[in-house]
Structure formats: structure tokens, C-alpha cells
Symmetry: C2
Subunit: 78 residues, 2 copies
């Protein structure tokens, strides 16, 4: 069974760089990846918060939320 | 050509959790992964610093350093 992964970002340079690095090495046989730009999809900020995302870029992987470096606080995207 | 990846940690709960999540989904066809416990190998703290690691857990992926959540500051491991 594949693990669901959601990469939340906001188009910031730190976000783009982290996205390129991490998504290029994920095993797509194991991971079903969705990339969500919270600037373009502000309606999904609540869902990110519920998953424990405090800043972007962040990767929600299965049940775990991994903050990758720091681009912007989620609060600044509301 | 494989990307070299080094996961630096210090055995903390945040580290172990992040390690399990991220290493389980890396594509081993693309990534040559080494896991370094800086508590056990303090001689490698300098190398981590040189790669831009400020806290653990961190994944140095090719030329980029990704801090994954926050377990401990590198300064506390010296």
C-alpha cells in the first residue's frame, strides 16, 4: 500500500528548493505525492494546520509532519 | 548517478521518528544513504557543520541541507 504524502509550500525560494530536492528522491512506488501551493489554494491552509503544519515547506508523510527548513509561517499565509 | 545523502541524528525521539519516515520512502535506486549518529560519532560534527547542518535531525541531500523538524542543536552535541 502506498503512503500518502503531501508537500505544502507557498512558492518561496526555500520551498521550491526543498521541493525539488525531496520530491526528486522519493520512491514513487511507495509514495503517492501531492504538491499543494497554499498561496494558490488558501482553502487548504486549515487542512495543513490539522496535520500539524506550522510552517512551509512541510511534508506530511503518512501520519507524520516533517518541517523542512523554514520558508514562511503558516500564520502568514492566512 | 546516485545522489549522496547523509542523515545526521543524535538518537533523540524526534530524530528517530524523522529517520524512519524519510528513509523508508527514499528511492534507493537514486539515493546512496548513510545514517550518522553524531552522539556515537562526535568526530563527524565538523563535517555536518561544514554542510550547513545547524540542528538534528537533518538530511544532507546532494548539495542541499534539509533540517527536518527540530531535535537538538548541533552546538549541544559538541
Amino acid at each position: 500500500m502506498k503512503t500518502n504524502a503531501t508537500f505544502y509550500h507557498a512558492g518561496c525560494p526555500v520551498c521550491v528548493s526543498a521541493e525539488q530536492s525531496i520530491t526528486s528522491v522519493l520512491d514513487r512506488e511507495k509514495v503517492d505525492l501531492e504538491v499543494v501551493h497554499l498561496g494558490d489554494q488558501p482553502g487548504r491552509v486549515g487542512e495543513a494546520e490539522d496535520a500539524g503544519v506550522e510552517s512551509v515547506p512541510a511534508l506530511v508523510l503518512g501520519g507524520e509532519t516533517l518541517h523542512l527548513n523554514f520558508g514562511a509561517a503558516l500564520a502568514d499565509l492566512k
